[in-house]
């Protein structure tokens, strides 16, 4: 039997498990397997290997689930404790924005007065006025970044590959 026929049979055996076969391919393969001992053995061997892969019994480490559940609950508590703080942070930001909008005309007058006093160009005043509004957001970003740094400094047991 030619080498090409074996190669095709092996390719179809793999294809059957990856993508599935067309009817004509399946017919050709089963006819070939009936005649070819080598390919038939290969098919059986692959079946055995995949069956073994499916049925491989891997012992679970003792208490893995309960230890994990404990850690997850601890982390959940930690996150819950942080949530009200974060809510307060956003509330404070929102309040300061509202106050900022309400007080904008007065703040602009203050900037104008400072401009007259120092002789600063109007562009600088406008930029300064814009920056004034970003202060709550900058503050919130700083707090969140600090929280991120805190997380990355968590104890080693909380990280994989300790």
């Amino acid at each position: 039997m030619s080498e090409n026929l074996h190669r095709r049979a092996l390719q179809l055996l793999a294809k059957a498990r990856v993508e599935g076969l067309a009817d004509s391919e399946r017919d050709w393969l089963s006819a070939h397997l009936q005649d070819c001992e080598f390919c038939n053995e290969h098919a059986k061997q692959t079946d055995r290997a995949l069956r073994a892969l499916r049925t491989a019994a891997i012992p679970l480490p003792v208490d893995l689930a309960s230890r994990t559940q404990f850690r997850v609950r601890l982390r959940a508590m930690e996150l819950r404790e942080r949530e009200p703080k974060r809510r307060m942070l956003w509330l404070a930001c929102a309040a300061s924005w509202i106050f900022g909008i309400a007080s904008a005309p007065f703040v602009w007058r203050l900037f104008e007065w400072l401009g007259q006093l120092t002789g600063a160009p109007k562009l600088v005043l406008e930029v300064g006025f814009g920056l004034w509004w970003t202060i709550p957001a900058v503050f919130a970003v700083i707090v969140m970044l600090l929280e991120g740094v805190q997380r990355s400094e968590e104890p080693g047991w909380m990280k994989p590959g300790r």
């Binding site: 092996l10 793999a14 294809k15 498990r17 990856v18 993508e19 290969h42 061997q45 692959t46 055995r48 290997a49 995949l50 069956r51 073994a52 892969l53 499916r54 049925t55 491989a56 019994a57 891997i58 012992p59 679970l60 480490p61 893995l64 689930a65 230890r67 994990t68 559940q69 850690r71 997850v72 609950r73 982390r75 959940a76 996150l79 819950r80 909380m158 990280k159 994989p160 590959g161 300790r162």
Partner: protein, 189 residues
């Protein structure tokens, strides 16, 4: 439809960080997740660490799961990314770079004088030759074989877990089957 309802309810529970749901999911998926991690890391202690860390991520990022795909596919994707991130901190580019046989870097085994934990575990099976052969296969191929034939994920789901195109999943499966055949042949010789 039933599966869809189940995944939607998991998504809702994860949004709320429901502790009872998480307990149940940890129980339910402990075996499959640990087995997957053991196959891709080849190290029992490391697999344990990643197992715990994966569930912490599930808690923290549960709101990102939309319930449109299988929960296990999302879970395995998280686990895999954790392993890859860890590999990167060990100055490797990715799991693939560490384990691609064409780069001549097989899966690292902690103590080469002893059988690896994976080999020890696999050797307990009655079909020892087959199992040991599986342990010899490069991790990227073993991983696709595990996802396809143990976890029975669809090719598209695997592509999602592995963040690679469907065509690459297929080619890895073909190579994995080929590698399995070669490993078996060597084992029998």
């Amino acid at each position: 439809m039933l599966m869809r309802d189940e995944t939607k309810s998991i998504a809702r529970g994860l949004q709320k960080r429901d502790p009872d749901l998480l307990d149940r999911l940890i129980e339910q998926y402990q075996y499959r997740l640990f087995r997957y991690l053991l196959y891709i890391t080849g190290d029992k202690a490391r697999a344990e660490d990643f197992f715990q860390e994966t569930w912490i991520r599930v808690l923290e990022r549960g709101h990102q799961y939309d319930g449109k795909s299988k929960f296990e596919a999302w879970l395995f994707a998280i686990a895999r990314h954790l392993v890859i991130d860890w590999q990167r901190t060990k100055k490797a580019q990715s799991l693939d770079a560490l384990t691609d046989p064409e780069q001549d870097k097989p899966l690292q085994i902690a103590n080469e004088s002893e059988p690896s934990p994976l080999h020890q575990v696999l050797a307990q099976e009655s079909e020892m030759n087959v199992q040991v052969s599986l342990g010899k296969i490069a991790a990227i191929y073993r991983e696709v074989l595990v996802l396809r034939f143990q976890e029975e994920l669809q090719i598209e789901e695997m592509a999602g877990v592995l963040s690679i195109p469907v065509s690459t999943v297929k080619s890895r499966l073909y190579r994995g089957l080929d590698a399995l055949r070669s490993a078996l042949h060597e084992g029998a010789a």
